[in-house]
Amino acid sequence: MPLISEQHFRSVENLVFEWARAIDENRVEAICELLVPQGRYTVTSRFNSDRGLPMAIIDCHSAAQLRDRIKSMRLANVYEPQHYRHLISGVQIVAAEHGLLEVRSNFVVVRTLELDGDIKLFASGQCQDRVDISQGEPRFVQRRFIYDSRAVETLMIIPL
C-alpha cells in the first residue's frame, strides 16, 4: 500500500467525524453533501453480511435516494422524538489505490428518547468505507455500516 500521509489520514478521519456530528447535531441533511452524487450508502447486519446475503435495511444507490429517505424522516414518518450520539474509534486506512482509500472504523450509537430521557445502546458495528481523495475535499464513494446485532431496537429512522 502506498504511504498515506498524516494529512490524508487526518482529513479522512475528519470526514468520518463530520458525518457523525451532522447527524448528532440534527443537521442530518448535511451528510448527503459528504457522499458523491452516485455514491452508495448501505446499512446491514453482520448476520446478513457474514452469510453473504444481499438484503440491507437501508440501501441508497445515490445521494438523491439518501435525501429522499431523510425527507421522509422529516415529513412522513412517525416515531418518538430521539437523538443519536456516535462514538467512533479505530479509524484506519487499510488500502489505497488510484485516489480511492479503503477505510475501516468502529461505531457505537447511543440513542436518547426525548420524552422520558431514556438512554440506550442502540447499535454497534463497523464502517467499511471507500473515500475519494483525488478531488480536493475527501468524499465518500461508499459507506457501508455493518451493525453487530441481528436485531434493531424498535426502528431505525435516523440514518446511522
Binding site: 438484503m55 435516494q65 425527507k71 415529513l75 412522513a76
Partner: protein
C-alpha cells in the same frame, strides 16, 4: 410445487361460525373480560404476567400451527434452523431422506440447548454436555458411556434409546412455508388456514430464494403487534408513504378475506384503481398521511411490476397467532412474531424472491426492502405506535380498547378495509383459546 394461484374476489364470510374446539377451562384469579365481549379489550391483557404464562401453554403450545421458516432456509439434508415457538427454542431439520422435522431444541438428558447456531449443516445433532447424540430426525442414537466402563457406572439396563429422543412436533408445509404444532388435535394446516391459504398460493407459486434477514425488537406485548397487520383501518392513515405515493389508498379497489373461523386474514389493494368520491376527498385532505409536499427526487423505488398479473400492489396476510406474509409492490417477506416476555417481542423479517428471479428483479426487491422492516419508509411507524400504546396502557389497572369500526359483530364490515372486523375476530379466537 404449489398449484397455480386462484383469482380471488372479496368474499363476505358466514355469520358467527361455531368453533370446532371445546372451550378452555375458565381461568381462576384473573379479572373478568368486559361484558361487551370482543369489541372491547381490557388493557391488563397486554401486561399481566399470568396471562402471558397462560398464552405460552394455551396458544403457543396449543391448538395452532406456528411458522418456523422457509424450506429454502434448510435446503439440503443435514441443514438446520434454530428458531422459537413462543418462548420455546425449537429446531427445524432436514433429514437424510429430505423429510423435514421439528423438535424441541432441548436435550432429553438434562435440558441443554442442543444447537447453538441460527443455521447450520450437520450429520447428527450432538449435545456437547454429555455427548448425547441424535439423528437428524431427533431420535437418540447414542448416549456416552451408556454401558459404563470396566463394569462400573452406566445407565440402567432397562434404558431404551427410543424413549429419549428430542420431543417431536407435528410439521406441515404449504408452498415452501414450514409450520409446526405442539398439538395432535389441530386440523391439517391447509384446513386450519381455510380460505386464507389462497393468499399464500397466489404469492408463493414457485421455489424461493432467501435474500436476507431483519429482526425488529419491539418493546410492546406481542398482541399489540399481531393486531397491526390485521388492522386495515390504520394503513392509509398512519403510513404516509402508502397514501401519498398511491401504493395503497382507501379509494382503491380492495378486499379482505378471512377463514371461516376468523383466525386468519388477508387484505389486498390495487394501485391505480382509485375511484374519487366527495366523501373520500373531504377525508383525504384532512389526513396527515396524504402529504402533497412529499415528492421523491428519485421515485424509482416506487416502480413495481405486476408479477402476479392481477393488479394487486399490496397484499398483507396474517395467520394467527404470529405469522405475516407480505407482498408490498415487489418486496416479498415473511414476518415471524416471537414473544419475549409481556413487554417485548421480536419480529423476524425474512426477505425472499423466487429462485429464478433475474438480476434486475432481485435488485428491485432489494431496493423495495427500504420500504419495509426496521428502517422501512412505510412500516417503521408500526413499531412506534405499538411501543407508545404499550407505555400508555401499562398501569395495568384500568381501561379497555374500543373495536367497533365496521360494526359490532364478527362479520360486521364485510370485506371493507374500513373495518376492524379482523381485529374482533382475533380477540374472539384468543378468548376461546385462553378461556378468558
Amino acid at each position: 410445487m404449489c398449484p397455480d394461484p386462484q383469482t380471488t374476489s372479496p368474499v363476505t364470510n358466514p355469520v358467527n361460525p361455531a368453533s370446532p374446539t371445546s372451550p378452555m377451562s375458565p381461568v381462576v384469579g384473573l379479572r373478568p373480560w368486559p361484558t361487551q365481549g370482543f369489541t372491547r379489550v381490557p388493557y391488563w391483557v397486554y401486561s399481566d404476567p399470568q396471562v402471558y404464562a397462560l398464552e405460552q401453554a394455551r396458544i403457543f403450545q396449543g391448538r395452532s400451527w406456528h411458522y418456523l421458516g422457509l424450506e429454502a432456509e434448510v435446503p439440503e439434508p443435514g441443514c438446520y434452523k434454530t428458531t422459537y415457538i413462543g418462548e420455546q427454542s425449537v429446531l427445524l431439520t432436514r433429514a437424510e431422506d429430505g423429510s423435514l422435522h421439528a423438535m424441541l431444541n432441548r436435550c432429553a438428558h438434562r435440558g441443554n440447548m442442543v444447537c447453538r447456531e441460527a443455521f447450520g449443516q450437520t450429520k447428527k445433532l450432538y449435545c456437547v454436555y454429555h455427548a448425547w447424540s441424535y439423528k437428524l430426525n431427533g431420535e437418540l442414537s447414542h448416549a456416552a458411556f451408556q454401558h459404563g466402563l470396566r463394569g462400573e457406572g452406566g445407565l440402567p439396563t432397562d434404558f431404551k434409546l427410543a424413549e429419549h429422543g428430542l420431543r417431536q412436533l407435528r410439521v406441515a408445509t404449504l408452498c415452501g412455508l414450514v409450520f409446526a404444532s405442539f398439538s395432535a388435535e389441530v386440523e391439517p394446516l391447509e384446513d386450519w388456514l381455510g380460505e386464507v391459504a389462497s393468499g399464500i398460493r397466489r404469492v408463493l407459486h414457485k421455489p424461493l430464494k432467501v435474500l436476507g434477514y431483519d429482526t425488529q425488537r419491539i418493546h410492546a406485548n406481542w398482541k399489540a403487534y399481531h393486531e397491526n397487520p390485521r388492522d386495515s383501518y390504520h394503513a392509509n392513515i398512519l403510513h404516509t408513504f402508502y397514501g401519498t405515493f398511491g401504493l395503497s389508498r382507501q379509494s382503491q379497489e380492495s378486499g379482505m378475506v378471512l377463514d371461516q373461523h376468523g383466525r386468519h386474514v388477508y387484505f389486498f389493494t390495487k394501485a391505480g384503481t382509485e375511484k374519487t368520491s366527495a366523501d373520500y376527498q373531504a377525508t383525504a385532505s384532512n389526513l396527515r398521511s396524504h402529504n402533497d409536499a412529499l415528492s421523491l427526487e428519485d421515485p424509482s423505488i416506487l416502480k413495481w411490476q405486476d408479477e402476479f398479473g392481477d393488479g394487486v400492489s399490496v397484499q398483507i396476510l396474517t395467520a394467527y397467532p404470529s405469522f405475516v406474509l407480505h407482498q408490498i409492490a415487489n418486496s416479498l417477506a415473511t414476518r415471524q412474531l416471537l414473544p419475549k416476555g409481556p413487554g417485548q417481542c421480536d419480529l423476524v423479517w425474512t426477505y425472499f424472491g423466487f429462485a429464478d428471479d433475474d438480476e434486475a428483479t432481485t435488485r428491485r426487491r432489494l431496493a423495495q426492502a427500504n420500504l419495509a422492516g426496521s428502517a422501512g419508509l412505510i412500516s417503521v411507524e408500526d413499531a412506534a405506535v405499538c411501543e407508545m400504546m404499550h407505555r400508555a396502557i401499562s398501569d395495568g389497572a384500568s381501561g379497555e380498547s374500543f373495536i367497533e369500526m365496521g360494526g359490532r359483530e364478527l362479520d360486521s364490515g364485510g370485506a371493507s378495509k374500513l373495518s376492524e372486523r379482523a381485529i374482533r375476530n382475533f380477540w374472539h379466537n384468543y378468548r376461546q383459546d385462553m378461556g378468558l
